[in-house]
Every structure is written in C-alpha cells, then in structure tokens.
C-alpha cells in the first residue's frame, strides 16, 4: 500500500466515518419520523408515550386526499357498503367520504407555479447571463450587484407593496402573479449561476460558428445552449426547489385559487383535532420530488446554494 502524507490513515478514516455516519443517522431521525407518522393511525400518531412499532395504515393518505364527514346512521344506510379500499378505511372511523380534499389542487398549484416560474426564469436568466458574459453591457458590475442585492430583502418587507400592486393589477391569488413573483425572486440566483456556466464555455466555439455563417442568435441557440445544458438544468432545479418550498409570499398573497402546498400542509386538520398522519403524508409526498432532485443534483449542489460563489 502506497503511503502519502496527505492520505489519512485507516484509523483516522474509521474514526471520521463513524462520527459522520452517527451525525447522518441523528439528522435522519426527524425525517424518518415524519415518513413513519404518515403511516400511523391518528391514535398511534398521538400515542402517549410515542410508539415506534405500530400497525401501518394508509389512513393518513386517505385523509389527505379526501374530505370526510361524521356519518349519521341514515347516511350510512343510504350510502350502502363501501366499494373501495379507501372508503372502507374511512368507514372504520365512522366517517363517510364526501369528496376530494384540496390537497390535490394545492399540489397542482405548486406544480404549475413551480414549473411555470422555473421555465420563465430560465428563458430570461439564460438570455441575461449570456449578455453579461459575452457583451460589454454598460454598468455591468453595478447591474450584477443590483441583481444580487434584490435577494437581501426580507420577503415580508416587499410583500406590502407587492400586495398593493397585485391588488390593483388583479394579480392577487392568481397563478400568473405568483409565477412572475417567483421568477423575479429566482432571477438573481439564475443569472449569477448561469453567467458562471456560460463563462466556462470557450468563446472560440461561437466565433467559429459565426465564421461559418451563423447569426448571433443562431450561435447562441445552436452552440452555446447545448454546451450550457447541464448548467441550465441544475440551475433550473434550484429555482424549482425555491419556488416549491417558498412560504412567506404564498401565505400572504394567495388564499384560494393559487395557493401552493407549503402554506396548506401545516393546516390540514381532521374530523377532530389535528390530523398528524395526514400532515405527515402531505409532507412526505411533497418532499419526494425534492429528495430525488437532491440526489440528481449532488454534483452541482454547492454552486447552486452559494450563488455560484463556490465552484467545484
């Protein structure tokens, strides 16, 4: 075995590994607890003291997606025996399903607003980043700093005038309003990140393309974009994660039609008391996409969260 002064000894590696894995397990516990709670019955979820071993049930998921009401004898008679497995679960609690809950719609809002704002943000951000990277833009440094500084404002601080502005424009509680807002918030991050990615693409490629008779637009479209694809994809995921998780604007500027899932999940209640399994089920469903992205993003994580200040 070759010896290197910078290669840690086996003992050090073991020691480091055990500590890190220990921390990882501790940090996973709350997360696993959320996921596990989603599969508990309401009684188990508030068991006193808490239970680790329990009989799993899909009741939380059923409750998440349905509205139920406490059944009177007459209603049970009218409805007849349950025909589906989820109705059966509801009946066991003495309730009947009256319809779909709002969760599906809120989740769709998150999808529409998240993906809509990300797409718009990528279009605008890539164009601006390209211009900042390749052209002499007057006051370039000032503009770049200005773009960054917009991120320093507490959302609540700008929410007041945005609320007033949206009210006048009829954008309050609309998908369009939220898409524009999240796009604007995310633009700073995407311009900074994308500029970094485009800076790394050699200018010579475009020059060659221009010589071959491409126009500037064509060179941008056919040469730069494919080269920047990975960068654009990872930037897009960061924008999506922000829009996906954002709470402050969503809670202040949306109420019904355009409300996303984060303000909604904490407020799920059951037929009596807080329905923790349903809350946990909602949280779990909501975090699956983000976990998938995290795994996909591993390599670009750092660049994204540091505004491109740290490159790896």
């Amino acid at each position: 075995m070759s010896f290197s002064v910078t290669e840690p000894s086996q003992r050090t590696k073991w020691f480091a590994g055990i500590l890190v894995i220990g921390y990882a397990i501790i940090t996973l516990v709350p997360l696993l607890w959320i996921i596990a709670t989603g599969f508990k019955s309401p009684t188990d979820s508030i068991a006193y003291p808490p239970v680790v071993v329990f009989e799993p049930t899909l009741e939380g998921y059923v409750n998440l997606f349905t509205d139920r009401t406490r059944a009177t004898e007459q209603m049970l008679e009218e409805a007849g025996p349950p025909t589906t497995w989820y109705e059966e679960i509801a009946r066991e609690r003495g309730t009947v399903i009256t319809g779909q809950s709002r969760f599906g719609q809120r989740f769709m809002n998150s999808v529409i607003i998240g993906f809509g704002s990300t797409a718009l943000c990528m279009i605008l951000g890539t164009a601006a980043a390209y211009a900042f990277s390749r052209f002499r833009v007057p006051l370039k440094d000032d503009l770049l700093f200005f773009i960054l500084s917009t991120r320093m404002m507490p959302p609540i601080a700008v929410a007041i005038p945005i609320f007033l502005m949206f009210r006048n424009l009829g954008l309050n509680d609309t998908h369009l309003g939220m898409i524009l807002l999240y796009t604007a918030v995310n633009l700073s991050l995407s311009v900074w990140l994308l500029k970094g990615f485009i800076d790394e693409i050699p200018v010579e490629y475009e020059e060659a393309a221009l010589i071959d008779g491409y126009t500037r637009f064509q060179a941008f479209y056919k040469v730069v974009l494919p080269q920047a694809a990975t960068g654009i994809a990872s930037t897009a995921i960061f924008c999506l994660i922000f829009a996906w998780n954002e709470y402050a604007f969503a809670v202040l500027l949306t109420s019904g039609t355009a409300q996303t899932a984060p303000p909604f999940i904490p407020t799920i209640i059951g037929t009596s008391g807080k329905d923790w399994p349903a809350v946990a089920a909602g949280a779990t469903i909501f975090l699956v996409p983000v976990m998938v992205f995290t795994i996909l993003l591993r390599k670009h994580l750092l660049r994204g969260i540091t505004f491109g200040a740290v490159r790896k």
């Binding site: 996973l28 709350p30 164009a127 007041i160 809350v279």
Partner: protein, 315 residues
C-alpha cells in the same frame, strides 16, 4: 470581445442575412437579452421598494380605504426606534442569528473536515446529511412542533433516553428559557448541511502540495491545521456565514410555524413582528417604515461584511 469575426462572417453571407446580422448589432442583442430581466426586477423589487419608502412617511392603512392618507414625516420611524418591543424582537433575532451561525459553523466545519478524510462511502453519507435543507421550512417548522411535544413528541424522549431526565419535565417550546433554543436547534438541524457543503468545497480547494511541504518541514498536524487548513478555508467559512446571516435575518417561515413567536414575545423575530404589523394590524405606513429599517440594516451589515470578506480573500 472582438467584432471582427462577425464582420468577416457577414461578408461571406448572402445580402439578406447580412442585413439581419448588421440590423441586430451585439449591442442591440445585449439589450434585448438583458432588458426583460432588468424590467422584471424593477417591477417586482425596486418599484415596490420605492413604494415602501414612500408609504413609510404616511399613516396609510390598507384596511381603511375610506380614511384620508396623511403625510406624517418621520413619525413612523421615531415610533419604531423608540418602541422597546421592537428592540426586544431585535434582541431575539440577534440571539437566533448568533447561535445558529456559531453552531452551524462548528458542526458544519467539523463534519466537512471529517468527510474530507475520504472514508469509504462518504459521498453517500454527504447526500443523506444534505436532505433536511432541501425541505420546505414551513413544513419543517410545523413538524418540529410535533417533535417537541413533551408527551407525544419524539425529541423529549430521545433526550430522556440519553440523559435520564423525565421527558415530561421540560417543554422546549413552552419554557421561556428553552424556547429561544428550540428554534436554534430546529434551524441548526435544517441548515448545518449548507455550511458543511461550503466548508467541504473550501477544504477540497487546498492543494495537497502545501501539506506535503509542511510535512517536509516537520510541522505537527495541529500546526498544519492552524496555519494551513483554517486560513485557507476561512474565505469559504465567511461566505457560509454571510449567506446564513442574510437568510436568518429574514427568517420567517420556520419560526412562525414552530413557535408562533411565543412564549410571550421571546421568539418573535423581526420578520414575524413585521408580518403582524403589516398583515394583521394592517398598519401599512408604520410597517413600511419598519421594512425600510430592516432592509437598510441587512444591506448595510452585508456590505461591510463583504468588504471584510474581500480583504481576507486578498491576503
């Protein structure tokens, strides 16, 4: 950037296309590319900011559309700065800010240092550690209220398992001494990975050759840490502190879901206080002044900090 390739290309292309290229000079393209972004940022960030500043000198209230709007000068600012409650929220924010940063830097740096020992499977465990920071802070805050419940939550039982303290004997959210720490713990759980990642980038940017040279000079590991590792990772650490500082100064979602600002006002951070003034009491003018004060402070502090950061980088 040279223009010559374009001109050369233009000479060789048919007249129609040449006109198109000449018609859209780089300058025009630059503006077409940048303008929408600048426009959107002006509309959604700067215009509202200017509006906020304007409103901050009035007694306007959104929920009283029929009341006359009066110009009150600096009255709102005077009221805010002389209000002891505002200073209390500033103190709560400072406590939260300082301790989250201290803990996250200590734990985050240690983790990064350990992961950098490149034990087998470190990539996998790094990814797992990163999960919490990808969640929605509001959902995290909401769930931690559940974890912190003395009777039915997990946190107290875990503490009790390790220390033998009766789980029902303390309440993280309800106790005046513990509540400020409850929000620090939840935030640290969520955001330590962030600091860890940046530190890891810093540690990995240090070339092996420097350590090899130090080894030749027979510098102890301890000395190497203080003279090489730490100074070279410092700009990265400071960057992590900057980002966490800005984020936690703005902190709203996690804490509002976790404690609602209580008990009393102990965990009412400035953003939560501002939200109450603006969207519950609807004192629009007053809260606009509050927002301006917050923005100026975060902007001012960040600017000073960035200057310091640049100095460290230059060294």
């Amino acid at each position: 950037m040279t223009h010559s390739p374009i001109d050369r290309a233009a000479l060789r292309t048919p007249p129609g296309m040449a006109r198109r290229i000449r018609g859209l000079s780089d300058r025009t393209i630059a503006w077409i590319f940048v303008a929408p972004t600048i426009f959107l940022l002006l509309a959604v960030n700067i215009f509202p900011l200017i509006w906020t500043i304007r409103l901050s000198f009035t007694n306007f209230r959104v929920n009283r559309p029929n009341n006359a709007v009066e110009w009150v000068g600096l009255e709102n600012y005077r009221r805010i700065l002389s209000d002891p409650d505002v200073w209390n929220t500033m103190q709560a924010t400072a406590h939260f800010l300082i301790w989250t940063i201290v803990l996250q830097v200590l734990i985050g740096f240690t983790l990064a240092y350990l992961i950098n020992k490149k034990f087998r499977g470190n990539d996998l465990w790094t990814t797992i550690i990163v999960f919490p920071m990808m969640l929605s802070p509001a959902v995290v805050g909401n769930f931690w209220t559940f974890l912190y419940q003395p009777q039915i939550g997990l946190f107290n039982y875990v503490v009790s398992f390790f220390t033998g303290i009766d789980p029902a004997s303390f309440s993280m959210i309800g106790d005046v001494h513990l509540a400020p720490w409850a929000i620090v713990i939840a935030d640290t759980w969520m955001w330590t990975p962030f600091v860890m990642l940046i530190c890891l980038a810093g540690l990995r940017s240090i070339p092996d050759s420097i350590y090899e040279a130090a080894e030749c000079d027979r510098a102890s590991k301890w000395r190497q840490f203080w003279t090489i590792t730490l100074p070279m990772a410092l700009p990265f650490l400071m960057l992590a502190v900057l980002f966490r500082g800005i984020e936690n100064f703005k902190m709203f979602d996690l804490v509002v879901q976790l404690t609602g600002g209580g008990p009393g006002n102990l965990t009412t951070l400035t953003s939560i206080d501002l939200k109450r003034e603006a969207f519950e009491k609807w004192r629009t003018g007053y809260s606009s002044a509050y927002a301006v004060i917050l923005f100026v402070s975060v902007f001012g502090l960040a600017s000073i900090y960035v200057k310091a950061l640049n100095k460290v980088k230059e060294r």
